[in-house]
């Protein structure tokens, strides 16, 4: 009689060698394909910027607190790394702005605008810009220093015709370090959350030298427009408006309805 065809069911202890060799080949093929696949996928990635988020490391910064147009702490230049701006934008814990926290602190301790304070938080920085996350919320305030009130530097008008400039609206917390990538389609929903949560929207564009320029977006009268621009975030857009330089940051005053999506 002919030899019976090998048959195997998983509950049997021993596998016939025909099955074993087929399965083995299948597994070996997969184990060869995987590293090749991993390499191609990783090699072709766009890559990530070198922005930093010092997660788990707490930093104390002392400087003048400016509550508007957006919360910024003006630190001594000598206290900052030389390649970083000494005007540190303040943001909240998670996907929230710093305003709520600062208002809560002020409700307890009185007005802090223009005063010298020491704040504790987590540093976020990249491309010359610095951001401080008030990780401990209202416990982020360490000291209010009692000394003279310093005058605020006058606004500098940058340009009055910021006309149809092309760029992308990002949330500065993620973009300057918390997330990789912190821009573009993948990050869109997070940026929407952050800006909806009160983190100032930042318009990222390129200047003639092909360097990045950043503008904090506000309404034409300086009001917050976070809610009005949610559907324009993380897209290629063109923006027109009036610009100003204040407290170490560029501001762009716009009518949110004039932001144009650019089809690619």
């Amino acid at each position: 009689m002919k030899k019976e065809k090998p048959f195997y069911v998983g509950w049997q202890e021993e596998m016939p060698k025909e099955h074993k060799s087929t399965v083995k080949k299948f597994i070996i093929l997969i184990f060869i394909a995987l590293p090749i696949l991993a390499f191609s996928i990783i090699y072709a990635q766009r890559g990530f910027n070198n922005h930093q988020f010092e997660l788990g490391k707490s930093t104390e910064l002392t400087g003048i607190y400016h509550s508007s147009p957006v919360p910024v702490l003006e630190v001594l230049k000598t206290e900052m790394k030389p390649d970083l701006s000494n005007y540190v934008m303040l943001v909240g814990y998670g996907k929230l702005g710093a305003e709520g926290i600062m208002e809560d602190i002020e409700a307890l301790k009185g007005d802090l605008d223009g005063k010298r304070v020491t704040l504790k938080g987590t540093m976020i920085y990249g491309d010359g810009k610095a951001v401080l996350e008030l990780t401990k919320k209202t416990n982020s305030l360490i000291t209010i220093h009692k000394d003279v009130i310093y005058p605020i530097v006058a606004n500098k008008i940058l340009s009055s015709n910021f006309d149809n400039v092309v760029g992308e609206i990002v949330d500065p917390k993620c973009y300057f370090g918390v997330m990789k990538p912190g821009e573009g389609k993948i990050h869109k929903s997070c940026a929407t959350r952050c800006i909806s949560g009160g983190i100032p929207p930042v318009f990222k564009t390129r200047n003639f030298q092909n360097e990045n320029e950043y503008f904090i977006l506000l309404g034409e009268k300086g009001e917050k427009i976070n809610r009005q621009i949610l559907d324009k975030i993380a897209e290629k857009v063109s923006i027109s408006g009036r610009t100003e330089f204040l407290n170490g940051w560029n501001y762009l005053y716009i009518n949110p309805e004039t932001i144009k999506l650019i089809e690619e």
Partner: protein, 345 residues
């Protein structure tokens, strides 16, 4: 078979299966992380975890989907099928890492509930390149979750095999959702051509194996048999059947498995009561027809599972005329005893 909700039995093969599976998953993690840190040292750990788990789960999903048709084409792949539920559950666990990390990273600690945020943070349903891709991933993860928690035979039994099978066919829906999740999500940011090539090649592999195995199956179904007297059809010669082996025939919309064993021929329904496996491709072990997929057993003459199990298949009347096998395709009630046709030597 009648199962209480007990832990699955572990034999040597199953242990090895799970060992190789997790060894592979771990090895891939190490290779993936090493290459990322080497080629992209600025990557964040969160992004590393999100991408590793996404890609690992997606690869496992492809492996899961090709095993079925491979087994239809060549029964030597069957050992891969037997423990496939471990692949499925592992895939779900890793996809869940991706989904949970993605949800935390992109939606948590904000001004609305993270799950609500998945559905509301992007509402460009009409644009392909801006489509809210995370919703697609979320729906697929729910499907994988339902499949994973119902993967035990306890649920198979309680949900009825038909319902269970229908639910597990949702894996194809989930696969489609994931392809769209990747195409409208990651690939709108990571735009290198190689990603499209990999995505499409994976899809073509899965699709073509299903088509080829489907054509093979159809070939069997297409065969027509000449009607003969008293409702019996001539299906094949005795010599077409190997000892202790079966053959599947499709007559008048009845899917029938014929077995030759111990000088006898019997016919039972070809659809296993477990997960509708092809009984006719099984074999007689310990005097029982044994399903090739997971080894459910049935006695050839009455279609009943040996006690204490309670599964029953329909049986069919069989006749032998010289060396030709004749079958009556009207099914008898499940578990009906039919005297096997004796082979005269």
């Amino acid at each position: 078979m009648s199962l209480n909700y007990t832990a699955v039995g572990w034999n040597k093969q199953k242990k090895q299966y799970v060992k190789i599976l997790w060894l592979g998953i771990l090895a891939f993690l190490i290779v993936f992380a090493a290459l990322q840190f080497l080629l992209h040292p600025n990557i964040s750990v969160e992004t590393l975890i999100i991408r590793w788990s996404a890609i690992t789960a997606f690869i496992l999903l492809h492996i899961i989907l090709v095993i079925g048709p491979l087994c239809r084409l060549n029964d030597r792949y069957l050992p891969l099928l037997y423990n496939r539920r471990h692949l499925g559950v592992s895939m779900f666990l890793i996809a869940a890492i991706h989904g949970v990390f993605g949800t935390i990273q992109f939606h948590a600690l904000g001004d609305v509930n993270p799950i609500v945020s998945i559905f509301t943070s992007n509402q460009n349903y009409l644009e392909i390149s801006n489509f809210p891709f995370q919703i697609l991933g979320f729906c697929a993860l729910i499907i994988f979750f339902l499949m994973a928690i119902s993967s035990h035979d306890f649920w198979l039994k309680n949900l009825s095999p038909k319902f269970w099978k229908a639910m597990h066919m949702l894996v194809y829906v989930a696969y489609g959702l994931i392809i769209l999740h990747v195409a409208t999500g990651a690939l709108q940011y990571e735009t290198h051509l190689i990603y499209w090539i990999i995505l499409i090649a994976g899809f073509l592999l899965v699709a073509s194996l299903h088509i080829v195995s489907g054509i093979k199956e159809r070939g069997n179904l297409r065969k027509t048999y000449q009607l003969q007297e008293e409702g019996f059809y001539e299906v094949c010669s005795l010599s077409d059947l190997e000892e202790n082996c079966g053959k599947s025939v499709f007559i008048n919309a009845e899917n029938i498995a014929i077995f030759k064993y111990n000088g006898k021929v019997s016919a039972v329904n070809n659809i296993c009561k477990h997960q509708m496996g092809p009984i006719g491709e099984g074999k007689i072990i310990d005097d029982c027809i044994t399903c090739p997929w997971h080894g459910y057993q049935y006695m050839p003459e009455n279609g009943q599972s040996p006690p204490p199990f309670k599964e029953e298949l329909s049986t069919y009347n069989v006749r032998l005329l010289k060396d030709k096998i004749w079958v009556n395709p009207s099914p008898l009630p499940e578990g009906t005893l039919v005297k096997a046709a004796k082979i005269d030597i």
